[in-house]
């Protein structure tokens, strides 16, 4: 009988602790900047290549884009699409500049600033989202607003408020995996407080000692449809790239 009571008490205590954990999981106390530093160091690379797919949910249709991507550091990438509608279309992004190459007309076009706000290839990801770079602490005040359980993972919840005008979003909110230090969820807000976009990591995988989100859903809250799911596979890190990998010369080949 005593044994049964002990088990019942243990179960009750366990349930109570679970409820507490669901409400607010316990994580080591860290500053917002320290958390973002860990996220950065977790996800950094010199060079990277992968095969990607974008599945754009239009409500009644699913558009699928396939691409191969080579990136170097934070500011430079080369993308080539391979799905039938866009086969051979290429992007070259270097810092804040973006060029597109259209194979049919052998034409290279520099993307204008106003187009950067548009959805890339019809997706919920804008060119600006893709291009934005730079130190977050230079642009945002970061504060830890608490911890939450998200998809069974204990997360730090960060609130980021813009302190400069040159940002795409006035305010952002991140849910950072407290163990793997990967952004599991992001919310991007306008100055009015309206939710503009939401991102959600659907798959996180380990590469060596690092964790990396390999599948992410991005949803433009101003658009109809179910958002864009971006998947990465055949991921390679640390390759030595040709010197002219990110040049107009190679874009045109």
């Amino acid at each position: 009988m005593n044994r049964m009571l002990t088990i019942a008490a243990a179960l009750a205590a366990s349930s109570f602790l679970t409820v507490v954990a669901v409400a607010q999981p316990t994580l080591p106390s860290l500053s917002g900047e320290a958390i973002m530093n860990k996220v950065d160091s977790n996800a950094t690379y010199t060079t990277m290549a992968y095969t990607g797919t974008m599945e754009i949910d239009l409500g009644n249709r699913l558009l699928r884009k396939e691409m191969k991507v080579v990136a170097e550091g934070k500011d430079t990438s080369f993308v080539e699409f391979s799905n039938p509608e866009d086969r051979g279309v290429r992007y070259l992004k270097v810092d804040k500049d973006l060029w597109m190459y259209f194979p049919s007309e052998q034409e290279t076009v520099k993307i204008s600033g106003h187009l950067l706000k548009e959805g890339m290839m019809g997706s919920d990801v804008s060119y600006e989202d893709a291009l934005e770079s730079g130190a977050i602490s230079d642009k945002y005040d970061i504060s830890v607003v608490g911890t939450e359980l998200l998809d069974g993972r204990a997360c730090y919840v960060l609130d980021l408020k813009a302190k400069v005008r040159t940002v795409n979003y006035e305010r952002q909110k991140f849910w950072i995996d407290g163990e793997r230090f990967v952004v599991l969820k992001g919310e991007m807000y306008a100055k009015s407080g309206r939710l503009l976009k939401e991102s959600h990591a659907l798959s996180v995988k380990q590469f060596g000692a690092r964790w990396f989100a390999t599948e992410v859903r991005m949803e433009d809250k101003l658009k109809k449809g179910g958002g864009t799911v971006f998947k990465m596979k055949d991921i390679q890190f640390g390759m030595t790239l040709p010197e002219d990998m990110f040049s107009l010369r190679r874009l045109n080949r």
């Binding site: 950094t44 034409e107 600033g113 106003h114 602490s137 390679q236 640390g238 390759m239």
Partner: protein, 393 residues
């Protein structure tokens, strides 16, 4: 800390340096080939050499059009009208290695119904060229599209591959040429071109120096047109595309006639193009261009549009990713010539779309007959309604 840590959402995750990684070779050609990939989801994969393409890769599209055309006069008792149909197949092929040498071809077979008793078949070889890539230069020979223009329709610097304004997609024609591209940096180079096969009176040779300065793409070009025997034109031009929130582009070209190797400034023609484009609300795109050909004598401008003043305007609306409405208009107001196109396209399946379109044309909008009598049909206005089904493969 970097802002784009969240943005695997983006195609280009912006992240810093991972110094612990191993270094391995990378073959862009193998990676970007259809079969190419890495060695799985591994860190510092050893090689991507395994997937070199064998033979040619094929792609293209097929389309079918039905067109109803009414010729001026439009009143029911006097008008003439006819139905025509067309089916086309475009086959694109690429082969080789983008590190060393490549061959590319694009051929279009077109069957036209209704213009003669039997269907008329035409064949266009838009591209067939090979390229050899060396450390010093990329050398290409054959038929290719040489595209310098900053404008959507008006590009006086484009001496080689004009825009086909009768094409709904504003495609360009191919040019037979020998080309050498000498890189001077990642975003700059010297492009030398000589046309092949044309008679000495039409052959073009010269070069264009291009680069990017403070975010502005710019080029300066100089070509000799038909100068092999000492009489022809020198065509010198400047072009740029910049960004002032709206996209802005401009081109300035001078065509100077040459006789017995002596330039004749009295017959110089200056062509100036200004263009602007803007998009908003993630659905609208507006494009406008103005071309001014300024003649100092009797000679007309080179290029596809020879009137003194020509205007282009286009507005596109994409209410969703499957649907697009486009209205575009080219007008030479002093010649009372206009060409307008309205189209509504809808993606109906993966790679397949259906387009309904209306065309109106009146007068010689290109100014092809400014220096001579125009065929009588040019003076007649025409209105056409068409529908096109196309499939990409």
């Amino acid at each position: 800390m970097k802002l784009t840590v969240l943005a695997l959402v983006a195609l280009v995750p912006a992240i810093t340096v991972w110094s612990q990684e191993g270094q391995s070779g990378f073959d862009p050609d193998a990676f970007f080939s259809p079969a190419g990939s890495g060695t799985g989801e591994t860190e510092a994969s050893a090689s991507t050499q395994s997937a070199r393409p064998a033979g040619l890769e094929f792609s293209g599209d097929a389309s079918a059009d039905i067109l109803y055309t009414v010729l001026e006069p439009f009143d029911e008792s006097a008008r003439t009208s006819d139905y025509t149909g067309a089916t086309s197949l475009r086959l694109d092929a690429t082969g080789g290695d983008r590190n060393e040498a490549k061959v590319e071809a694009s051929a279009i077979v077109l069957m036209i119904y209704g213009v003669a008793e039997a269907p008329v078949m035409s064949f266009e070889l838009k591209k067939l060229y090979l390229s050899i890539y060396t450390a010093l230069a990329d050398i290409s020979a054959g038929r290719m599209v040489i595209n310098y223009g900053r404008g959507t329709v008006f590009s006086p610097v484009d001496l080689f591959s004009a825009v086909d304004t009768s094409d709904l997609g504003l495609g360009r024609t191919g040019t037979d040429a020998l080309r050498a591209l000498l890189p001077l940096g990642d975003f700059s180079g010297l492009d030398l071109v000589a046309t092949l096969g044309a008679s000495t009176g039409e052959s073009i040779a010269g070069g264009r120096l291009y680069g990017n300065l403070a975010g502005v793409d710019a080029g300066v070009s100089a070509f000799g047109v038909g100068l092999a025997d000492g009489s022809g034109d020198i065509v010198a031009g400047l072009d740029f595309k910049g960004d002032l929130e709206l996209g802005v582009s401009a081109e300035a070209v001078a065509r100077i006639p040459v006789f017995d190797w002596h330039p004749d400034g009295s017959e110089t023609v200056y062509s100036l193009m200004f263009g602007a484009d803007y998009s908003f609300a993630d659905a609208w795109f507006i494009d406008a261009e103005y071309l001014w050909n300024l003649r100092t004598g009797d000679a007309y401008a080179v290029g596809a549009f020879r009137s003194d003043h020509t205007l282009f305007g286009a507005i596109s609306w994409k209410p969703d990713e499957l649907t697009a409405l486009d209205l575009r208009c080219i007008a030479a107001p002093f010649e009372e010539a206009v060409q307008a196109t309205f189209s509504l396209s809808r993606s109906v399946a993966a790679g397949a779309s259906i387009v309904g379109y209306a065309l109106y044309r009146s007068g010689d909008v290109e100014g092809r007959y400014l220096d001579g009598p125009a065929p009588s049909a040019i003076g007649l206005a025409s209105f056409s309604l068409g529908i096109r089904l196309s499939v990409a493969y």
